[in-house]
Amino acid sequence: MQYLCRDCTKLLNINQIPSRCGECGSPRILAHEELEELNIAHFDCDSFFASVEKRDNKELIDKPVIIGGGKRGVVATCCYIARQSGIHSAMPIMKAKKLCPNAVIIPPNMAKYKYVSKQIFALMQPLTPLFEPLSIDEGFLDFSGTRKLHKACAAQILAKIALKIEEQIGVSISVGLSHNKFLAKLASDLDKPRGFSIIGKKEAKQFLAPLPISQIYGVGKKFAAKLKKDGFINIGQLQKYPKSELIKNYGELGATLADLARAKDRRRVKSERKVKSVSTEITFSTDIADFSTLSTILLELAERVSFRLKQKRLIGDIITLKLKSANFELRTRAKHISFPTHFAHIIYEIGEQLLAKEVDGTNFRLIGIGVSSLLSGIGEIPSDLLEPKIYKKAKIERAMDILHEKFGKKALIRGKLYQIEDKLDI
């Protein structure tokens, strides 16, 4: 049987699994029959926000740390020391304080966590083209077909990346490896923190059988209660129940339920998330109430959005205007147009119509515009029986685009934007 040392990341072949690595002496040995065959992995940072804070303030290392508070007053996450007192995420801070009076409570610094998350994802990205970030601190990886590239199996790559992240970023991750997403995600949670668990094809059903049904992906509180009422407590019961009956009772959800209980999950690891909208916004250095100034800035933003849509070959038919007043009141107004488009002048015209209804003397600190309900393509050149100008405007924009491509964005700008060109680099 083969085993993998998680510290020197060597893959060794020995009849009996040793308690320590024969090469480096580490006790972190990972052995599994299917070790080399499994390719779908899930990783999850261990108490991510708390780990980042501990990394940046060594005094916190041996203290129970809670990230949370703020407006909603609940625990966002807490370190493993705090968890020993029974604290968990989403618990009210007041209750957490009672359970662990000496806990250090730190308000979340999302900007920092996002930055660290980006660093971690940047390390994951080159490992495989099939990397699917799931949230700020977790993601799926599909290593199928990467063996020759890495000259190593998925388990080895994962052991290496886990060490690399600890070394370079200073936070630890837990890894789950299996043959589908559902099991990989379950596995990563098995032996936290700094965990690495494998669920093989052979033992998958057996492994799932004793687990409560709430462990199944997609079974929330309500559905779990319903299943419980119908007599399903653990996954094993679902395994024995015919799929057709489950479909009869729970519809489409029943089919998924039957498959997942039988360790079948067809969901693929998808590298790309579909772009849902393209938008941009700008916060002014001083508040603006004047329509014509706002409108001019809007034109600039519409051009930026249009440029990005054209780059991505996307068109959309919902235009959304966003405004934030000086006292942070947010207004979003959307309009559905009759054909999807990427034209700056149309995005602008619709945006301007929406803007005209909102300008009422209010001081605004931010304006933004976006296009959503997207589909791929370049769309039609709008034409109107009654207004031939519409067609001409679109033709002009197409011509401008060609010039921009050849000579750069500043080669030709709309007259209206000429006056604010320097002001906009806020």
Binding site: S373, D384, L385, E387
Partner: protein, 372 residues
Amino acid sequence: MKLILERNQLLKSLSHVHRIVERRNTYPILANVLIRAFDNKVELRATDLDIEVSEQTAASISKEGTTTVPAHTFYEIIRKLFDGAEVELEVENEQMSIRSARSNFHLSCLNAEGFPSLKAEEDFVNKFTINAQDLSELIERTQFAISTEETRYYLNGIYMHTIENEGKEFIRAVATDGHRLARAQISAPSGSSNIEGIIIPRKTVSELQKLLDGLEEEINIEISDSKVRFTIGSLILLSKLIEGTFPDYERVTPKDNDKKLVVNRSDFASAVDRVSTIASDKGGKAVKLIINRDQLELVVINPDHGTANEILPVEFSEDKFEIGFNARYLLDIVGQIRSDNIIFMFNDSGSPTLAREENNDEALYVLMPMRV
């Protein structure tokens, strides 16, 4: 107020009237229908401030009076009563009781004094009668092309006016949303000369069309500067007109389109419908027509899903010609064609196309191509 009338009769009138009552209203009384009992008649009236519909029906009145009750609730109650039953309405203490068979309802009333009326004390200059079917035909032919765009509000209705052509007078109806234009005409009934051009709002048109359904009788039309009044038997529909200038549709109706395509209507309609299945709903459902001699190929390309094409035999004597249309707009127009074949007249792939029936110039459709 106290009266008795037959349920079916009440239901019929009420169904004509209650439809124009909006579901959401700024003024509570606009959700109500006015009931006026007088002279062995009962008048029902509803309004949305742009349209007012009233209808009178026979009833045995034991006490005259006027009140208003929530229109949709009242309608639902009457609808659910027994077919042919007698209904007694009585107002007492700001409530109206509805009694029929063993059912008993009490509805809160609002005082009729606050009920708005579309004042009609003005000069109705044009007065004429028109056959219900003719009027319905004009609407049917053009209604689909009415615009819903708020910014060009003057396109939110059907434009009607009298024209003279080769010594004959016609009433012509036109609607357009900028993408397509529908034009239909009928011989002008006597007294209908000199209609200078009115724009009848979309909601009025659609209510009118429902009211005209199946009728064969003559309808009275009266037109003033700002309103139009239709009298259909004991029913009166009074509507504001859209104030604004309808664009010069003659200018955008092509006159020199010389490429003629003749295609079987039902084959064409089902083929367009079939190939456009693949087109994205949002993508404007673009369908391309590639015509070469006596063959038409319909092509749809959806970058996200795939492609479709279908070939049809046609009459076309020119060399290869290509043009793209929005499939939905194309089908809207084809749906209006009653002859076996549909005739398209093209100019070039960027110019408006003309569509019409065989041997009939009374109805004409203009369609803007889609250009990429």
